[in-house]
């Protein structure tokens, strides 16, 4: 067997491990092992590549490759190990961005490398697509990171004529691609790189913080496609397979997420959602009365319940209250009360984020129920405990066609006999909309920091 065949076989093995990993994610039981299998497959591919011949000779610059890898590992491992679970979305965003950047660099360098041999038009097209998509993913992810890390405002950034300007930038990129295809100019390639960079930024700026989860998943898909494009240029099946898998996964997730918000993808991407707080949100607060209670009142309500459904939102994670929440749930369960967690698909800052945060607090995953099941459970629940959620329980999404979130599927906390709403203040949620549930006669508001309040409730429940 020739050296090349052996390496290709090893690549095939790697591609298979990636599929095994994705399949493993079908259940929490096998997911971790699957991820390890894929990591091993990746290692095999990397080692095999060291023995590959390019342009008829062994790899040059092995020392430089190892040095670059060492730098990457030294930065990546501590970052990945020690970042808080709440910061996971921005971490995924930045790791995704660097992948896009790498794919873009690979495409550019390959173009510089093969230009003298007059590549076929389709090869140039692959290069240009790789550069465009990879760079948009890179700069877009950087802005998404800045938004999530609160280095800049999470609200949509808008300016007059934004859509037109963005369209012009997009068209400029396409025009450049056509021009380079015809002329084969390297100078223009650098220009395309710059335009793509600006396009990524301009594309992400008007997207509000609440929609960033959808965006990250779309950018993830972009990077996958950029990698697949590089695979075409380099003639690597491994890159094509892996890139396409990720591209498909990202697009699928993006669609699922927009569906969970009851909006179309184009509405998410282009409408600058949440850029102004609606009139009802600003004026409705003063005029209407709400019922508020103490943590002790809440404890009484909870201990007399037989079924409690907890509806957590991102506020829970911000207050770092997931551990106290689990303590409360344990305490209630020891009194024979049934406790469930109702998880909205867009709770948190990325798809499935809330599940990870609760898993971190050792909440068993079989207590987490998805939206539809939660809504049928809520019909027979005595108490719905809303902690740090807001828009995902807002009845206006079902009842008020004028509301910006109208049509978004929600968790119907109002179906439960009593609603306990833990809230820091009367401020509207991330989407900037007032919540009708707060004024519901069965709702009791408990103001304060979620962690403080929950600690007091736990103490009161223990004492009873």
């Amino acid at each position: 067997m020739s050296r090349e065949t052996l390496i290709d076989l090893l690549y095939l093995f790697s591609a298979t491990t990636f599929l095994v990993a994705l399949k493993g994610l079908g259940s929490p039981k096998h997911a971790r092992r699957g991820n390890m299998v894929a990591a091993f497959g990746m290692l095999v591919a990397i080692v095999a590549t060291f023995f590959k011949y390019v342009d008829g000779h062994p790899l040059h610059h092995v020392d430089l490759i190892l040095l670059a890898m060492l730098i990457g590992v030294l930065v990546a491992v501590p970052t990945a190990r020690f970042v808080q679970m709440t910061a996971m979305p921005q971490l995924v965003a930045i790791f995704n961005g660097v992948g896009g950047g790498a794919a873009s660099l690979v495409s550019i360098t390959e173009f510089v490398h093969i230009k003298s041999s007059n590549p076929a038009t389709y090869v140039t097209l692959e290069v240009l697509l790789g550069v465009l998509i990879g760079t948009v993913s890179f700069s877009g992810s950087a802005i998404a990171f800045a938004k999530l890390q609160e280095l800049m405002t999470g609200r949509p950034v808008t300016y007059p004529g934004q859509q037109i300007i963005n369209a012009v930038i997009g068209l400029a990129a396409l025009g450049l691609i056509v021009t380079i295809l015809v002329s084969g100019s390297t100078a223009l390639l650098w220009f395309l790189l710059a335009v793509a960079f600006v396009l990524g930024i301009a594309f992400v700026l008007p997207i509000g913080g609440a929609d960033v989860p959808v965006l990250i998943s779309l950018l993830n898909s972009f990077t996958g496609l950029a990698v697949a494009a590089s695979g075409f240029t380099l003639g690597s099946n491994l890159l094509i397979i892996a890139g396409t898998l990720v591209g498909a996964s990202g697009i699928l997730l993006t669609r699922l997420m927009s569906k969970a918000m009851g909006r179309s993808l184009s509405n998410v991407l282009f409408s600058a959602f949440g850029s102004n707080i609606t009139a009802t949100g600003a004026s409705g607060v003063e005029g209407r009365s709400v019922r508020s209670g103490s943590p002790e009142d809440a404890a009484v309500l909870l201990t007399f319940a037989s079924k409690v459904v907890i509806i957590p939102g991102y506020g829970l994670a911000v207050a770092q209250a997931q551990h106290v929440l689990r303590e409360l749930a344990d305490e209630l369960e020891s009194k024979g009360i049934k406790v469930l967690y109702a998880i909205h698909p867009v709770a948190g800052r990325m798809p499935g984020h809330m599940n990870v945060l609760l898993a971190e607090a050792n909440v068993p995953y079989d207590e987490l129920v998805e939206m539809d099941e939660a809504n049928s459970e809520l019909q027979t629940a005595d108490v719905a405990l809303v902690v740090g959620a807001n828009d995902t329980v807002n009845p206006a999404a079902a009842s008020d066609p004028a509301s910006p979130i109208y049509g978004m599927p929600i968790i119907h906390a109002d179906l439960a006999e009593n609603v306990l709403f833990l809230k820091r203040s009367m401020r509207p949620g991330f989407a900037g909309i007032d919540n009708e549930l707060l004024y519901n006669p069965t709702t009791t508001l408990i103001f304060g920091d979620a962690k403080d309040t929950l600690t007091k409730i736990v103490a009161a429940v223990k004492a009873s």
């Binding site: 490759i65 890898m69 790498a102 990077t223 990698v227 890139g243 396409t244 898998l245 698909p345």
Partner: protein
């Protein structure tokens, strides 16, 4: 052109297989799915190694070197983060609760 056709075939098949497998991932695991697939596109490290390994000019060397660093960040960061997340997913009552409380922020 034959090579192009072969690659296109692989692309189409991978897209279908990917969609099929991924649609079976429950929403509870969507975050690990994103970060796991994130790690998988880190396979661009193979491409980065090839371009740095065949670099003839200084420009190619610099670009290739940067590409390898970025790709390593992507692949290593992706797998480590995913593993850290998946480690936490446990079924009911696996062990004494909360031995390594990290919530003191």
């Amino acid at each position: 052109m034959n090579a192009l056709l072969q690659y296109a075939t692989v692309l189409v098949l991978a897209a279908f297989v990917g969609t099929e497998i991924i649609s079976k991932v429950p929403s509870i695991l969507h975050t690990p799915l994103m970060s796991g697939s994130n790690a998988i596109h880190g396979v661009i490290i193979v491409g980065s190694m090839l371009i740095l390994g065949s670099a003839n000019t200084n420009l190619e060397e610099v670009l290739g070197f940067l590409a390898v660093i970025l790709a390593t960040l992507n692949v290593v960061g992706g797998f480590v983060v995913t593993d850290r997340m998946l480690e936490m997913f446990k079924a009911r009552k696996p062990k004494a609760p909360d031995t390594k409380s990290k919530d003191a922020a």
